[in-house]
Chain length 223, copies 2
């Protein structure tokens, strides 16, 4: 119990830390970047035909290490990073300016907008180290709550596929139950990802926290 | 990877150890015990009316600590311990002779017989620390393989409910996927049972291995 609590605390502290570290003019930089989609709703239902590629989306991309590296090694896929905080996306914009990739776009908005942005557009949704919202009364804000899983129903092109990673045991247990209750089947589940023999691109957060010995969980679901 | 391999090894060693420790006349003692059902197929489809209670079954009861303690605190449920090895059941018979309970019976047979013994009889099936069968070619022998989950289809009275515990990460990951593929929903999942705040009766094996710091996994599924 203590262990779980400590992990939650660590995540909250980090979450707040990331959000509070505001970067001056981040909003302007992100807004004016050619990598940013500022009118995402106008592409709703047309992402695939616009970009002529399959669409993979990450919600909560933070500074974008994961999605940037994914885009680099998968040039035939269009990646879209959805992130609420411009201060986080700022780092991804700077990275893209230094070393551009054609197949990565940014959307600076809240996750709750996801079904206003996409309609039968995407193939895979990534949820990496989302906020665990540890208090019971906040569980509905989790990106794997009933509310969000309902929102995701309309965003997928054909087969629905969600890939989730977290170091938060409570969030992971909750999410497994939630996915299954929403009729997702499990493609793979990893209860100790960094000791599993599979290819894995780490997020910035994941790199930092796995070094401290925290276990990383991963699940791939589909329907 | 090393960690997982070590755990598998430990389980194999213990499994073999338990099986090799043969007790003289165990077969005779178990066969002649009033607590043993020697003709379980004759009760097929009639367990509930025979015992006038709901039926909970554990497959692979070993020395029976878990099911004995469950029977003690749930007098309104009839518990049936299914175990292949008389040398393991011997200890349960001796325990029952010293301190009898009315609502516990023993069946000495292989798990593969389960659908020959029960037909719409049982309410809950317990699978505690089953053999992990670590080699891929032996996975079909796991008590949560497709073969076994198909067998369980006919044994439940109404709602199907299976409760599983293990310290084997690979077996647990496999079983979660297998349950969900067989359309079970997840009631609860615990990725670190002994640090969860829930009531738990430990098996003999569980007591020994949790002391060594191995994580215990538990899942409750239903359909």
């Amino acid at each position: 119990m203590l262990y779980a609590k400590n992990i939650n605390c660590a995540i909250i502290v980090i979450g707040v830390y990331m959000r509070l570290k505001k970067i001056k003019n981040a909003d302007t930089v992100v807004l004016n970047s050619p990598f940013t989609i500022n009118n995402p709703k106008e592409y709703k239902g047309k992402y695939k035909e616009t970009f002529k590629k399959e669409i993979y989306v990450e919600i909560g991309s933070g500074r974008g290490k994961f999605i940037y590296e994914m885009a680099k090694i998968n040039p035939n896929i269009m990646f879209i990073a959805v992130e609420k905080y411009a201060s986080a996306l700022y780092k991804l914009v700077k990275r893209l300016e230094l070393d551009p990739v054609d197949n990565l776009k940014l959307v600076c908005t809240d996750a709750s907008e996801i079904d206003d942005i996409f309609d039968k557009d995407i193939s895979i949704l990534y949820l990496n180290f989302s906020d665990p919202w540890p208090k019971k009364r906040h569980h509905k804000r989790r990106l794997t709550s009933d509310i969000f899983l309902d929102k995701y129903e309309s965003i997928f092109f054909d087969k629905k596929e969600i890939v989730m990673k977290t170091d938060n045991q409570d969030l992971f247990e909750y999410s497994v139950v939630s996915f299954v209750n929403h009729n997702y089947k499990i493609k793979n589940i990893y209860l100790d990802l960094h000791n599993a023999d599979i290819f894995n691109i780490k997020t910035e957060y994941e790199e930092k926290f796995s070094k401290k010995g925290f276990r990383i969980y991963k699940i791939e679901v589909y329907k």
